[in-house]
């Protein structure tokens, strides 16, 4: 009996789905437009992709979705959050929500308090936890508040105060009151972690809708499966965990696309260029995971400490508008986006797009009617393609980590624009099913665990500390559902801390492995 997975990706334009077997082969793929209620789109695409599949063989369902990101960006369906910080008298110089965009602050942040508590870097208390002050804070929580975010200083290393505060709040407000604790959400960096925890608490309602909608779509197709959502680092969390930590699902789209592209191409190290209707994103995979950006990541204008893939985006896509005559052309940045299917000249529309250029030049086939482009000037076609090739070359060169040539994987609906010969790339790979790379990336995502702590290497020694950190990361991955036999360390980073004694370093270790049962 086989064991199948269904991967679904809800993007801005399309909702994609794939069925993947245990060896990673794509058995079916489908695409349908994203609907205003995204679950109609999910149901549609599932009906298409499940044709001829025995639903009893499907064991896991993985969903990658832009819901949480869009909720924050569009300030839609967000809850109102009480913010409790355990760090006084430290941290009083910066109030919670400082530097938030005004509109988001107004709609999301409710009562705030900074009370005695939290820890020093060495694990001693900054102050004893101020239980009375927590009870007074609970008194400010009225019916308009949907959740509470609790953040203590050095919670990634010592979270006793957050757990105790949770108990006190539950005594005051009941055990069902939604409360997010920062040590479950983010890493070192109090303000960024607090921001992420507040956003997380504000997303709990959205998360409930997503998970309920996902489960009801699965139920309608009689799929009895373990259900997961994909996270921004390309790994999975269970749907139950997504109910508690939805913020980790923000930004999973590009990661899924890049990981899916590499796996479809059978590569673990490559430059990936995803060309859509409006823009082209390029990133790089190292050992199967995207290289992460080191810059602080803003979500809806709020600074967080999430790691996101290092991407370069430019306005180059199938719908990008081409203007001019002869060799005097201007390409983009305007685009007709997904309307290319009706507005491109070769489709009977009136706008000259890069898809028309690509069709005329023979890079694209099976799109529109090339005869409609008869009057197009050859010089114009050549200049537009020159611009495209130049941009692709620049993106490739900038993304590569060394001058050695690397394979380039071209994916996405506009990837026909990428020439077969890109300087700097050893080859251009166009994997099968590349149009559903996102959904495939979701389907092959792994369970992961991570640890982010400050270690003093003396007197135990660096190796003993790193071994402990690795073991903690592996344990966390197994708790998240990874098969213990296949968990591996995917990244280790060590940042020595200046001025600290005992050779202190911040150590960040990640482990990941296939979901138990998938290998069969």
């Amino acid at each position: 009996m086989s064991s199948l997975r269904i991967g679904i990706d809800v993007g801005g334009t399309n909702t994609d789905a794939v069925i993947v077997n245990e060896s990673g082969d794509v058995l079916a793929a489908a695409k349908s437009p994203t609907t205003s209620n995204p679950f109609d789109g999910i149901r549609d695409v599932m009906s298409q992709v499940l044709v001829g599949i025995n639903v009893a063989d499907v064991r896991q369902a993985m969903l990658g979705t832009t819901h949480p990101s869009n909720a924050i960006i569009q300030r839609r369906d967000l809850g109102r959050v009480g913010v409790l910080r355990l760090a006084a008298p430290a941290s009083l110089a910066i109030r919670p929500g400082a530097s938030w965009p005004e509109d988001l602050h107004r709609s999301v942040i409710g009562p705030t308090a900074i009370v005695g508590g939290g820890f020093e870097f060495d694990g001693t208390e900054i102050a004893p936890l101020d239980i009375d002050a927590i009870r007074r804070f609970a008194g400010l929580i009225d019916d308009s508040i949907t959740a509470i975010a609790v953040t203590s200083a050095f919670a990634p290393a010592s979270f006793d105060h957050e757990v105790r505060a949770l108990e006190v709040l539950e005594e005051e407000l009941g055990v069902d009151f939604p409360i997010s604790l920062s040590h479950k959400v983010g890493s070192i960096g109090l303000l960024e972690r607090e921001n992420a925890t507040i956003l997380n608490a504000a997303l709990l309602g959205v998360a409930r809708d997503v998970v309920e909608g996902f489960h009801s779509a699965l139920g309608e197709h009689r799929l009895e499966v373990a259900s997961y959502l994909t996270q921004n680092d390309g790994t999975l969390m269970s749907a139950e965990e997504a109910l508690r930590i939805p913020i980790l699902a923000v930004g999973s789209g590009p990661t899924n696309s890049m990981r899916g592209a590499c796996a479809l191409a059978g590569l673990s190290d490559a430059v990936v260029i995803d060309v859509g209707g409006t823009s082209a994103d390029t990133g790089i995979l190292v050992d199967g995971f995207p290289r992460e950006s080191t810059a602080a990541v803003e979500v809806g204008g709020v600074r967080t400490n999430f790691r996101m893939p290092d991407l370069i985006s430019i306005g180059l896509g199938g719908g990008t508008v081409v203007k001019g005559t002869g060799s005097q052309v201007t390409v983009g940045p305007e685009s007709v986006g997904y309307r290319v299917a009706t507005e491109a000249i070769s489709m009977g529309g009136s706008t000259l797009t890069l898809s028309d250029i690509s069709l005329r030049a023979g890079r694209l086939s099976g799109f529109g009617d090339v005869d409609r482009l008869d009057s197009l000037d050859d010089a114009l076609v050549r200049s537009a393609l020159q611009w495209v090739d130049g941009q692709i070359q620049i993106m490739t060169e900038r993304m590569k980590a060394s001058r050695h040539k690397m394979p380039l994987i071209a994916v996405g609906g506009g990837s026909h624009l990428i020439s077969d010969h890109v300087p700097g790339a050893s080859e251009v790979v166009r994997p099968n099913h590349h149009a559903v790379a996102n959904a495939f990336g979701a389907a092959i995502a792994e369970a992961s665990g991570e640890v982010d702590r400050v270690y003093r290497f003396e007197p135990r020694g660096r190796d003993a500390c790193l071994d402990e950190a690795k073991q903690l990361a592996v344990d966390a991955a197994v708790r998240a559902g990874a098969d213990p036999a296949h968990v591996r360390i995917t990244s280790i980073s060590e940042v020595p801390l200046s001025y600290l004694p005992g050779r202190a370093s911040r150590v960040l270790v990640k482990a990941a492995g296939q979901i138990k049962g998938v290998q069969a």
């Binding site: 008298p89 870097f121 200046s498």
Partner: protein, 360 residues
């Protein structure tokens, strides 16, 4: 400019980040502190040292600790006012004005928060006009001004006041104290009269940093001639553009040291090595030092000209390396003993700014 309000903070922050030369602590937190203090207490009056009565007491204030701890144990605010008040009371003086010691990194903005809360002006001057890792690396040390008496305070109300024999001892005592006070503390040192500031400080530092930030902001938004105007003002030179191909970090004697190697975008045979000691300190091309301290080395993200901190450096990053001349006040007798390459343990000679056959 007569005062620092919320409008100047963003330019000042960007300028301070650049003058941090990769270190000096991330000014993001200090920016939020300064904003909150200005919202609560109002704008800060800026004065030149010469506008103060000659005997007015000028005290410096700075964060001391580990940058990685400061982002987690965010300042309370009272440690800074506490350190200043304790030193003033030890000296038996009123606080006449606050002055930054280090216009570069987070210590550029923290003094604004303290000045507005105490209701005193800020002096448009400092002792470095860039970030340096140690207390004694100031033009005040060159002028024979003592770092002590100095005070170190925490947010709980613990304060220590020291008197020391040399500024090097002051540095060691302060670091040792901070270790016991949670590694995110306040220090007030180099107490001076306004006349001493007039005689010894680097003048105009705060307004310099603000203008530098404004001009770099224009570079970031891609204005025409923006780079030329930035370079005209600061004397900046682009010394290298390429991709980080190697990054070696280590901690020795408490400092985050390392070496970053960059390969040129266009000419792959060229590589630039930059030595790190909290800050970016020495740039070496083809075995030859081309920029050395106290002149400044900064790394900007090639795509958007954002300054990159040494902790944020990563393999594969695309960077522009730029050099800025240090404040002219550094060029006094004995400066190389205090802040020259050999003071940081590098066996290279000081290269006068712009020397060393640089080509971008």
């Amino acid at each position: 400019m007569q005062e620092f309000g919320l409008e100047q903070i963003d330019d000042l922050t960007l300028g301070a980040t650049l003058l941090g030369t990769g270190g000096g602590g991330d000014p993001y937190i200090a920016r939020l502190m300064a904003r909150q203090a200005i919202e609560d207490y109002g704008p800060v009056k800026v004065v030149q040292a010469s506008e103060l009565p000659p005997d007015a007491r000028v005290l410096t204030i700075a964060v001391i600790g580990a940058p990685t701890v400061v982002v987690e144990k965010v300042p309370g605010g009272s440690e800074f006012t506490g350190a200043v008040k304790a030193l003033a009371s030890f000296l038996g003086d009123d606080v006449g004005a606050i002055m930054p010691i280090e216009v570069g990194g987070m210590n550029t903005l923290v003094p604004l928060a303290v000045a507005t809360e105490l209701g005193v002006p800020i002096v448009d001057a400092d002792g470095m006009r860039r970030a340096f890792p140690q207390i004694e690396m100031t033009v005040f040390t060159l002028a024979g001004i003592g770092a002590s008496p100095m005070s170190v305070a925490d947010e709980k109300g613990n304060v220590v006041v020291f008197e020391t024999t040399t500024n090097q001892v002051a540095e060691r005592l302060a670091r040792g104290t901070v270790m016991m006070l949670g590694m995110s503390n306040a220090i007030s040192c180099y107490p001076m009269t306004a006349q001493q500031v007039v005689d010894t400080a680097i003048h105009g530092s705060m307004t310099y940093a603000t203008e530098l930030g404004r001009l770099l902001g224009a570079v970031q938004s891609g204005g025409s001639d923006a780079w030329e105007r930035f370079a005209d003002f600061s004397g900046a030179r682009r010394i290298f553009t390429g991709k980080i191909i190697d990054l070696d970090r280590r901690t020795t004697e408490g400092f985050a040291r390392g070496t970053v190697t960059i390969e040129h975008f266009d000419d792959h045979s060229r590589t630039l090595r930059v030595e790190i000691q909290n800050e970016l300190l020495v740039a070496i091309e083809d075995g030859k030092a081309i920029v050395t301290p106290p002149d400044l080395i900064c790394m900007l993200d090639h795509e958007n000209s954002t300054p990159i901190t040494t902790e944020g450096l990563a393999y594969g990053q695309r960077v522009d390396v730029i050099a800025l001349p240090c404040a002219p006040e550094w060029h006094r007798a004995g400066f190389l003993d205090v802040v020259g390459p050999k003071a940081f343990g590098y066996d290279v000679e000081y290269v006068p700014f712009g020397g060393g056959d640089q080509q971008p």
